[in-house]
Symmetry: C4
Subunit: 126 residues, 4 copies
């Protein structure tokens, strides 16, 4: 599709409600995902920042999404300098990209016996 050859989307996305449920039950593990689509032909480099309620942000978490690819990134696997996002703690997240992308955020919570889902488009700032 010729009209997709130029990258499209935004370069700064915000997710104010981040939370990794610390417990799971049944066959599905509680988790969150940042789902990114990169329309362009070249890889997009993401720089993720985690904001907390009571401490300095965790910065410079790096991920890459290939050209004409999506990546559904589990937040529990993110880390920077050996630090990762603690489960059971309210946080917020920003996703910067060096190329225009689209970002959606979804959470699956199976703390109680049957799973619950929520999803939002991240809020585009730039």
């Amino acid at each position: 599709m010729a009209q997709f050859e130029q990258a499209r989307g935004k370069t700064l996305w915000v997710i104010p409600d981040g939370y990794i449920p610390p417990e799971s039950s049944g066959q599905m593990t509680s988790h969150e995902s940042i789902c990114v689509l990169n329309f362009g032909d070249l890889p997009a480099k993401l720089n993720i920042t985690i904001y907390f309620e009571d401490r300095e942000p965790l910065e410079n978490i790096v991920e890459t999404v290939g050209g004409r690819r999506t990546k559904h990134i589990r937040t529990a696997g993110l880390s920077s300098d050996g630090q990762s996002i603690p489960p059971g703690v309210p946080y917020a997240m920003t996703v910067e990209s060096d190329r225009a992308v689209i970002v959606q955020y979804s959470r699956l919570d199976s703390t109680q016996a049957e799973l619950a889902l929520m999803s939002v488009m991240a809020f585009p700032l730039e």
Copy 2:
């Protein structure tokens, strides 16, 4: 309603978090739907592209939505050249339309015994 006679909406919509749950339980089948509203008097022709994490996109899936009609399209039924979206695989989706439409995406997951729902407006790019 005279003010609806001109088609309204956008022509390129993005859904980064696509996923067909491979399992179901109870009376409801796990599924996703792309819900499209076409305000205009003439049919809208949709061209859907599926982006994956590790392979080339699946392109040129075609659907039509009649004028002054909605269509709630189950993703499991989409196909192009005999290829369809595999269940249990993270993907992303774009919906292009030759006329302005509005697109919402919803998922029902009944992998565990009671269903879960999520829904987002697709992200409008054009």
Copy 3:
């Protein structure tokens, strides 16, 4: 709040994924709500249109939201000329208002024994 004395929001909102679950279980009834906030001092008159997959739209459903009030309107109670929205049928909905308002759409589904929730901001067109 003086800065709220002028009405704010939009006058045409779209919800592509409408569906009244036909079954319920437990103590909560499956239902959808259109949740409207009217900032202004004067009542807002809503004109709701229901779009179907296979028949002409159901038009001219009228509701009123008082000034500086919210109204959470259950879709099952909407009617026009004795016609209402059939349960178990995919539909889409537009909400026009003669004054600027804000519209959110939520669904509670208790078809299977435990409830599921979904919610989206309606898509603002005007």
Copy 4:
């Protein structure tokens, strides 16, 4: 991150569908949260207004979010002049901020035995 030193976001956010579920079951309490991210270096002062279906708004609920911090605020704990939001009542909410912030709204409902989740970005007006 130098590019975040200027505060970013919006200063008036709207959530039309507010509701504090009056009942809970299992280990998780039904609740709603307003999740705010303050990018800036200085604290943001929030002024929250609650709109009802049948009475005057509850105004001047004040909260503060530190610079480079998030705050996930449970609505059940909000109060102004000794008045708080009654559970089991449909309401709407606005969040004004003296500095640009980003606001997301989420609800966990465990009225029936397994929890349900919903989440939306609040609607930005200013």
